[in-house]
């Protein structure tokens, strides 16, 4: 069974069209609502504000009126690194974060994590968040919490899970119906579903039948900090060269998209 399963290994990932992303923030809200993300009275210090999905603002640095901005939604990139050794997975001392070869998802187990924050130091995308505070919901509002996702306690690290609970739920249904495989639309992340501009596409990057498979092959597709060898599963697409260039560190003479870590 396991050898067969291995063959069908999935690599769930995203392709985000940055030319479509409007920076409206719907993905962030959908993510927060889906994943019981806590909120504080003041969230304007973005350095301690938990947003699994964060929309970064990129600017081209040019003078008015040649200035341009672009928004870049950044979920956890679910790095594969080299054979699943993503920057964060290999450093966690207590095996609280793991890479699944079955789905390609980097998990974070809140009850295992003891809050050393080494994974945060390791993640160049700042996709990991520490619960500096106890999560507190205003009286009565804890009613909105979803039982599908554990509420995190103070003192541990959390991050985007690609809405893995949706996969679990969908698999539940599949098991009941005697299936082991999910259709593309059966497992979609909350942000993908919520994006009104349709900028996010989610699916199995290994499956030629899924939309992401084709989209990631666009000549305008790139990944964040690709040359670090993080081997991420979130692809971005933009027709604008300055945006593609902003996705990685380039030396002045290097051409956009010409440098990437070998795998």
């Amino acid at each position: 069974m396991s050898a067969k399963e291995q063959k069908k290994a999935k690599r769930f990932g995203m392709v985000i069209d940055l030319d479509k992303c409007t920076g409206c923030g719907a993905c962030m809200v959908a993510c927060m609502a889906e994943n019981n993300v806590p909120f504080k009275k003041d969230e304007s210090n973005k350095l301690d504000s938990i947003t699994w999905m964060r929309v970064f603002k990129l600017t081209n640095g040019k003078e008015y009126p040649d200035a341009d901005v672009c928004y870049l939604p950044r979920p956890c990139q679910h790095c594969e690194g080299h054979d699943g050794h993503s920057p964060c997975v290999s450093v966690c001392p207590a095996t609280a974060t793991d890479y699944s070869r079955e789905t390609g998802i980097v998990s974070q187990i809140y009850t295992r994590c003891f809050g050393c924050r080494y994974c945060m130091a390791a993640c160049p995308y700042h996709a990991r968040y520490f619960n500096w505070w106890d999560p507190v919901w205003p009286k009565g509002m804890e009613k909105m919490l979803s039982p599908d996702v554990s509420v995190r306690m103070r003192g541990i690290v959390e991050k985007c899970s690609f809405c893995f609970h949706r996969y679990q739920r969908a698999m539940d249904k599949a098991h009941l119906e005697g299936r082991r495989e999910l259709a593309e639309n059966e497992y979609q992340t909350a942000c993908t579903q919520a994006c009104p501009a349709g900028a996010i596409t989610f699916g199995d990057l290994n499956n030629p039948g899924h939309a992401v498979y084709k989209l990631k092959q666009s000549p305008n597709a790139f990944r964040l900090l690709e040359r670090l060898g993080t081997n991420t599963k979130v692809y971005y697409v933009s027709e604008r060269e300055w945006v593609r260039r902003a996705g990685d560190n380039y030396l002045a003479h290097e051409k956009t998209g010409q440098v990437a870590a070998a795998h």
């Binding site: 054979d83 793991d98 699944s100 070869r101 998990s107 187990i109 539940d172 098991h175």
Partner: protein
């Protein structure tokens, strides 16, 4: 520790043996405390709202456990029955037991859900798919839940005062030993079976099942 013990030993010829005696007294007392008294202190005993005979009901239904503990259409598992499932038969007191009367008068009539204490409730961090185990894995209920379907009354619910979890998760045995598959429901017990059956050994970290199989 043994430095002191040795020190006590060498202290003097006339009370050296006495020191050993005290050592033994201390040892015995704390062993008794740790093995016998401590578990009693650690767990609080709670009574179920009223008693329930699985055996009796099991005899009345056609479909075994799934008659009441069923799957919902979305694949999720309904678990402990809701009031609505019981009222069909229990609209009025029909049997002779006091417990049924309690059920009908205190819960059915005011339309209040029974606050059952669930022995097998896993911690919130656990995702358990009954569908995967029962439907795809072909497991029976007994493997994890034991012969509860044959029980005639409900045992007291023991709750760990510190963690708030049911004792059945850690197991009755305070040392954590088990003699049946259903004696404990800790992660090790899940992984034992998963490893044995080779269920998707996909974790990069452990070469066993990945964390997100059972966690949420």
């Amino acid at each position: 520790m043994s430095a002191l013990e040795e020190k006590a030993k060498e202290s003097s010829d006339n009370n050296g043996g006495f020191a050993i005696l005290f050592f033994i007294i201390g040892l015995a007392a704390s062993l008794i405390f740790g093995w016998v008294v401590f578990p009693k202190l650690l767990y609080s005993q709670k009574k179920q709202p009223f008693d329930f005979s699985h055996a009796l009901h099991n005899g009345l239904v056609d479909n075994g456990c799934q008659s009441c503990h069923f799957f919902r259409e979305d694949g999720s598992y309904a678990g402990v029955p809701k009031l609505a499932q019981c009222v069909d038969c229990h609209e009025d007191v029909q049997g002779e037991t006091e417990d049924e009367a309690v059920f009908v008068n205190e819960y059915v009539k005011p339309g209040r859900e029974v606050p059952w204490l669930v022995y097998s409730r896993q911690p919130d961090c656990v995702f358990f798919s009954h569908a995967a185990h029962v439907k795809s894995g072909g497991m029976d209920c007994k493997t994890c839940h034991g012969p509860i379907g044959e029980s005639e009354s409900l045992k007291p619910y023991e709750e760990n005062r510190i963690t708030g979890y049911s004792r059945d998760i850690w197991g009755k045995n305070i040392a954590g030993f088990k003699s049946h598959t259903w004696d404990r429901m800790k992660m090790d017990d899940c992984s034992e079976c998963h490893v044995k059956n080779g269920v998707r050994q996909n974790s990069v970290q452990t070469e066993k099942g990945a964390c997100f199989v059972c966690h949420k």
